[in-house]
Amino acid sequence: MPPSINKKCIKCGNCYEICPGDVFDWPDQKKKPIVFYPIECWHCGACRLECPVGAIEYYFPLGMTHV
């Protein structure tokens, strides 16, 4: 439902830095941040706006798209 981080990610950590809901975690900075609290996402789009390489994609659960 929330964002997912695709292969374009350059591991800059902007999404982790910016998210107003603190939805991401970034325990290993050699790897991509993790969408750690997916259910807490507000779909505000801040992470995608701040991602410099277009690595953020949004998915919506069936409970939003098919009700």
Binding site: M1, E17, I18, C19, P20, G21, D22, Y37, I39, E40, C41, W42, H43, C44, G45, A46, R48, L49, E50, Y58, F60, P61, G63, M64, T65, H66, V67
Partner: protein, 553 residues
């Protein structure tokens, strides 16, 4: 306290006056609060010479729309005095209200306005631009720091405490004045999709200022009102203004334009009546309901599509995922979850402020959606600035009060206690029960019995706050938010029980007192907590003009 739209404008005002400013925000100020992902509208009069486009006409609209609970004198001083400055400031920081290419304002009318007071603009980078200005002015920004307590000394504001939601570092800050600007309260009612963070406005706005101010013995007002809106089926996203401003139709399951049954302005009726009409259509079995834009000319459709994306960054993705092109197909809609906030666009709910944006506690100011006389974007920008301006003037006349060391130590231990529990409840388990209680008993149809039931159940739920266990600082933040939600819910039920009439239906609709009673209830319900005891009282308001009423058909 709170670095959203109001908080950053307050910080700018104070810093411009040479005051040392510290900003606390649970998020990062570049993208936090209700407009984290952008915004597309700002309400203003522009004095073009049109009869509706003046300060006087605007204030008359404010009195008419907010009749009974709005204080137009405060509005005049806090908003109108700062409007021109606000428009100039937005332009200066790089988020102008006018079209950067043409210099023209794109203005639309809806929500009962006498003329096109909404300005559509590109507010996608409004937050980052304001944040840049705040940092340029040398304010100290404490991103990811959540306030947990206001410290008071001799009935005056003395400081604030909080913790870093990632590192757990504790903060105790002495200050001469504090501007509370943490917004409205979301995540308080069940959502129609049962996904707790799928809310119209920011689900991380959870009423911290309302709770902390009450605990510091400041008075709250207008807390009985909830607010709901019409959102796309499945996604509680903003965008209603854009549709109604462009002239979209609301249609029911029989294909009828039902809003003309409820209000003479049909889809351009005030928001509460759009919700009232839609709830009624659904209750009487004429669903599903849709917003139909197919009749709009191509230029309006293209403007509409553009502004929808500015108001909610991901709405376009959602509509694609749902297979909807608003040009070709009506958009199925639903009534959103409820929230605690001012009932209409020109009057707020929360900390009771005077004409200097000060609460009933000296040195504690409020701005934006958590103040009882401010609401939405235009008031957060102009009114937030006023709160910072008056707070700065206050600090220049006053000294630090000092913090009580024992109180600081006690608060430090209290903040961290949910981390120390070996076992306990997840915050969500407690919150889910609260949301159900609120939706079933303090929703758009209320009675004395439902409100008393809510009070009993919330009182029985509150002790479980002491059993919430946090596994890390993030969960600690969520658990403290739960405490604020429970307090706000309790106050809403109490204030709603106190007001024995209906006003701004269905935002306060008492089945047992269905009429608006301007003889006895023209005024605000104030709620205070002194020495732990909560009391309610009524404060009458007087108006130059009588209410013309709602023109309900």
């Amino acid at each position: 306290m709170g670095g959203g739209l109001a908080g950053l404008n307050a910080a700018i005002a104070a810093a411009e006056r040479g005051v040392e400013v510290v900003i606390l925000d649970k998020g990062k100020i570049e993208r936090s609060g209700n407009i984290a992902g952008g915004v597309d509208h700002f309400m203003a009069y522009l004095e073009t010479g049109e009869p509706w486009d003046s300060r006087e006409a605007y204030l008359e609209y404010v009195e008419e729309e907010g009749y009974g609970i709005v204080n137009a004198e405060i509005h005049n001083r806090v908003f109108c005095d700062e409007l021109k400055n606000a428009i100039t400031r937005l332009e200066r920081i790089g988020s102008p209200l006018s079209d950067p290419k043409t210099g023209q304002y794109y203005r639309t009318a809806s929500m009962g306005q006498p003329g096109p007071y909404w300005i559509n603009f590109n507010g996608k980078f409004l937050k980052p631009n304001l944040a840049k200005e705040v940092r340029r002015l040398g304010c100290t920004v404490l991103d990811r720091v959540m306030a947990t307590r206001l410290m008071v000394s001799g009935l005056k504001l003395a400081g604030v405490m909080g913790f870093h939601t990632r590192t757990g570092d504790l903060y105790s800050i002495e200050c001469k004045a504090l501007v509370a600007s943490t917004g409205n309260t979301n995540r308080l009612y069940e959502t129609p999709t049962r996904m707790l963070f799928n809310t119209w406005l920011c689900p991380y706005n959870t009423g911290e200022a309302q709770r902390l101010a009450l605990e510091a013995e400041a008075t709250l007002a207008n807390m009985e009102f909830l607010r709901m809106t019409i959102v796309p089926k499945g996604f509680s996203a903003p965008g209603l203004n854009a549709f109604t401003g462009m002239g979209s139709y609301f249609i029911n399951g029989l294909g009828e334009r039902y809003m003309s049954r409820y209000h003479e302005k049909a889809e351009k009726a005030p928001r509460n009546l759009l919700v009232w009409g839609t709830l009624n259509e659904l209750k009487e079995g004429r669903g599903p309901v849709f917003i139909d834009s197919r009749h709009l000319p191509p230029e309006k459709i293209s403007h509409l599509k553009k502004t929808l994306g500015l108001d909610k960054e991901t709405l376009d993705d959602f509509l694609k995922a749902r297979g909807i092109d608003i040009e070709k197909k009506p958009l199925e809609v639903m009534v959103s979850e409820a929230m605690q906030t001012g009932p209409i666009e020109v009057v707020g709910s929360g900390i009771h402020i005077d004409e200097n944006c000060m609460s009933t506690v000296e040195g504690l100011f409020a701005g934006g959606d958590c103040a009882d006389q401010m609401k939405v974007v235009h008031m957060a920008v102009a009114g937030g600035y006023s709160a910072g301006k008056f707070a700065a003037e206050y600090t220049l006349r006053n000294k630090l009060k000092g913090l009580d060391k024992k109180e600081v130590q006690e608060e430090k231990a209290r903040i961290l206690s949910p981390l120390k529990r070996k076992k306990g409840l997840h915050y969500q388990e407690v919150e889910d029960v609260l949301r159900q209680i609120m939706a079933e008993n303090v929703g758009p149809y209320r009675t004395r019995a439902s409100l008393e039931t809510a009070q009993t159940k919330i009182n029985a739920l509150a002790p479980y706050l002491e059993e919430i266990k946090a596994n890390n600082f993030h969960e600690l933040m969520r658990g403290i938010e739960t405490a604020s939600l429970i307090k706000v819910g309790e106050i809403m039920a109490r204030a709603a029980l106190f007001r024995k009439e209906s006003r701004f239906i269905p935002y306060h609709y008492r089945e047992d007192y269905p009429e608006t009673d301007n003889t006895n209830w023209c005024g605000q319900v104030l709620v205070s907590q002194i020495d732990g005891k909560i009391t309610s009282e009524f404060k009458p308001l007087h108006y130059r003009h009588g209410s013309k009423g709602y023109h309900l058909l």
